[in-house]
Point group: C2
Chain length 558, copies 2
């Protein structure tokens, strides 16, 4: 049998009309804002706070990943299929893919194999225009800033060297990372240094994902911290009267998008902030929408649990008053070999010793999840190269820790490959009577909050603050932002801030180099290393391998 | 009675479902790709070449405009209402507004008063995402160019000083006009000068509007001329293997958008290229769609008839084999006063002498239209400040020329204000038995084609070619682009290339400063003056006056 690519599998599926998916969730046809036959936006009045409390939120996260990723999205979709197979009403609530990487190297993010959300081409391309709306809102603020800089009538005396707001574009385009703008004489504004980030790195994206309603969105947009005047006065987006026009641009983007899985189950896909410098998880509104309409909501958060789950729980769940009932930790044997010391060329060969040595990474993540008063389930996302030995070892070791580890075969078999995982999740959810608790209190001092995360979650002995970070702390204090959440920006490749420390590093110190402010998102961002905010294209970009025929049928998109 | 703003009038109208508008055109509900309840994309298979030949295309153009514009869009929509009122099946086929000016000074472009297309907020904002798709396709090519520049594996040896392809953004943002990119070291590409144009100025926009089907679109994208290598070899988008990925980004944007007028008549809105450096009229596909579904299609082209109608007829109608049956020349009394010598502060005062002196402008446009073997109708777009005297003068003078001039009150009264205009148009259309003929043959030499337009349409005595233009002519010859159409880039404020020569200038020479190439659009662009491709924001941007309430109701958008 020919091995089918993701897009071939997706194209082979005859989709049902999105109104039928809506009907499964009890949504009246008139409430669906259709985007063609297979996509719809959902109006915010469908959110029901009472129902949210009654339904079950499950987070899918992962051990410390290898560059290939652990397959969280695929497991999330597969688990949704599995839950529906065993008679639960479950909806996947996920992030929207960014267009940039689609043409670069990473490809899209609509799941894989037989665990996909469809129509995958649309989801991976412009979808319903949310990213574009975010990009335009971001860049309108930029245009207003530069317009003010050169304005005679309303000049704020903004210091062009102290503007923190950057432009964004949803494209992998390294040559826009560092640019100078406003060149060419008096007609073209004031020259200054600037740069473009990729759209998922926009604070507007973070804000849209943190907003609980339209009013909240508008307030947060006004709260965006733009920069300082020459006399060190802070300037916010509201000073530029930008928040209404920005909100106008986001009037549809705030509504979650409904699509379907390959097995015709509901998926809500909405928002996609970066997982390094932002919260890396879908909108609060989408999660609440899912919980208003569905008994189980399966969601995910970017990178390993030290970043994704930590932020999901301490930032999002606290802000939105959500109470997740279970956490699925996705692990691949490949990654465990990596954490046990396997070299790159050894990663695909069965080796129980490496897996044994690497188990400490999974163990630390399990311990961490329990610190939030939540029970984990381990999903082993298997590949053909995995040996029975290795898998059995994981299952047994987890059993010793009182954690159920289950092989997940969603990629290969869809819901039929995840029924066991689904049952394990249901078992945990149904046994849960306690309330999740965050690791830190937002009202604690900033330094204390950062140290709490570093020590409790990363296992660091201490936190060093560089000179710049110390100055940044003072600025945060001066601006009155001490009670913001902490959105850590750290490498995803290690518990520590050194990407080469695999497994479960011990006896280490992490260093905060600087601390950024996302005043509209209401978190501050300690930077623990070089953060990529604008990817580049590889030598041979993925775009070169894509074709579309005269009837509009795409191939080569992944 | 309180004077209602455009958005208040639009919001006061209860829209009917777009499937009812589709039904008026005989479109099956299943063929509509809905974008909510009031917008839909139309599949290309609805285009029917046989029906196109049987139905009637009417172009709305204008005399040489004042900065306020003559109201072509409003007249086009009003005329569509009027035609339907007198029992004709008519559809307006128009350009999509650009987002940039919405937040700047010009405002949107969905008509005005009681002649509007709705939902006006959506049409003026992201609409169905076409502009975003164009922007992304344009900027993907840019990213591929810069990626190639710094590539080790596949470098074309492109000369960074000889790259003609610019990035675009749909925003009024003067500080992006001239920038340097690729700064910050080896990781960030090769430093070079670049700049952003506004999205309507993208050649991808021009291409989408010239394409006759998806295959043609893809070929034209591949034909885009990017720049030269250090050894003067031309590089095209196809060399970068960009055309498939760009076409993938445009797979939905190629489909025309259906909306409704305030009187529930069909409007197809699709594409919006600049009228200065591009063709300034909606897509060929939309025009053909309209003519496939409707007995009358009312369309318009940007700026005065010397630019808009000339390009519409010589470029679009020739390329698409269209045969327009009538041309409506929109004139305001205000503009005629201007052409008769009135100063800015005198423009709103009745003055028959100025109108008499300014009539020569309208007369020349009438003569020009007849050179294409088409009969004009004059639509006098009236304002309260117009005197009976002035209007009667125009009507009588036009009668002497055998042209019917009719007062158009679409802005004030919708279709009830344009029935007479509609009847005048029907009279011309029904009397037309001849075939329109272009002013020049595409196969003539470039210089000859340019001279033909300048002499016959502008009334110039001769054309001067600057040194740079002469070099550009040689380049065009070397590249084999002699048989392209001519897309003149000239001020819209005068028949000449000197914006201060109002009325009907005589004894003048126009100067071609340089000549650009749009190889994918298949036209070459003689530049006769400074062309604005990226507007700026005014001291107080329109965005500041906009609000959106917590339920998403917008005010201040115009």
């Amino acid at each position: 049998m020919k091995h089918l690519s993701d897009i071939e599998i997706a194209q082979g599926k005859e989709l049902i009309h999105i109104k039928e998916i809506g009907a499964k969730l009890g949504i009246k046809e008139d409430d669906l804002e259709l985007y063609g036959k297979y996509k719809a936006k959902l109006p915010l009045h469908l959110i029901d706070e009472e129902k949210i409390k009654l339904n079950n939120l499950v987070l899918v996260t992962a051990i410390t990943p290898t560059p290939a990723g652990e397959g969280k999205t695929t497991v999330s979709i597969g688990l949704t299929e599995g839950l529906n197979k065993i008679g639960k009403q479950a909806t996947a609530v996920l992030r929207e893919p960014s267009l940039g990487p689609v043409f670069g190297i990473k490809g899209g993010a609509a799941g894989g194999g037989y665990s996909q959300v469809v129509p995958m081409e649309d989801i991976n391309l412009h979808f319903t225009g949310d990213f574009n709306a975010i990009e335009k809102a971001n860049n309108l603020l930029s245009a207003l800033i530069d317009n003010n800089l050169q304005s005679k009538c309303c000049n704020f005396n903004l210091d062009p060297r102290a503007i923190f707001w950057k432009r964004v574009i949803d494209m992998n385009d390294r040559s826009l990372r560092k640019i100078t703008i406003g060149l060419g004489g008096t007609a073209n504004g004031i020259p200054r240094e600037d740069g473009f980030n990729i759209t998922p790195a926009s604070e507007v994206m973070a804000i849209l994902c943190m907003a609980t309603n339209f009013k909240d969105l508008k307030e947060r947009l006004g709260d965006i911290f733009v920069g300082f005047t020459f006399d060190k006065k802070p300037i916010f987006a509201r000073d530029l009267k930008a928040e209404n026009a920005m909100a106008i641009l986001l009037k549809d983007a705030i509504k979650p998008n409904l699509v379907q899985t390959l097995e015709e189950n509901p998926a809500i896909i909405h928002g996609g902030p970066f997982a390094n410098i932002a919260q890396g998880t879908n909108t609060i509104i989408a999660t609440k929408m899912g919980l208003s309409l569905s008994n189980y909501v399966i969601t995910e958060a970017g990178f390993g649990a030290d970043l994704g789950a930590e932020k999901f729980l301490n930032i999002k769940c606290v802000a939105a008053d959500l109470n997740p009932k279970a956490v699925v930790l996705v692990a691949t044997i490949r990654a465990l070999r990596h954490h046990g010391g396997a070299k790159k060329e050894e990663l695909n060969n069965p080796n129980i010793d490496f897996v044994k040595a690497g188990f400490c990474n999974l163990e630390k993540h399990i311990e961490n999840i329990r610190k939030f008063n939540i029970e984990p389930v381990v999903a082993i996302n298997t590949f053909i190269t995995d040996s029975h030995n290795e898998i059995e070892f994981i299952i047994e070791k987890c059993e010793e820790l009182n954690v159920q580890a289950v092989v997940s075969k969603g990629w290969e078999k869809g819901g039929n490959g995840t029924k066991k995982l689904a049952q394990a999740v249901v078992n945990v959810v149904e046994a849960t009577t306690t309330q999740f608790k965050p690791i830190y209190n937002w009202n604690s001092p900033v330094k204390e909050k950062i140290e709490k995360i570093a020590k409790e979650i990363y296992g660091a002995d201490a936190v060093d603050f560089d000179k710049k970070a110390k100055l940044n702390l003072k600025r945060i204090d001066r601006l009155g932002f001490n009670d913001f959440a902490i959105c850590m920006a750290k490498t995803q490749k290690s518990f520590s801030d050194n990407e080469f420390l695999v497994g479960r590093p011990k006896d280490f110190v992490v260093t905060v180099r600087e601390i950024e402010i996302a005043a509209g998102a209401r978190f501050i961002i300690p930077i623990l290393g070089q953060m990529m905010r604008m990817p580049g294209l590889p030598g041979v970009p993925a775009s070169e391998g894509m074709t579309i025929d005269d009837d509009g049928v795409i191939s080569g998109l992944s």
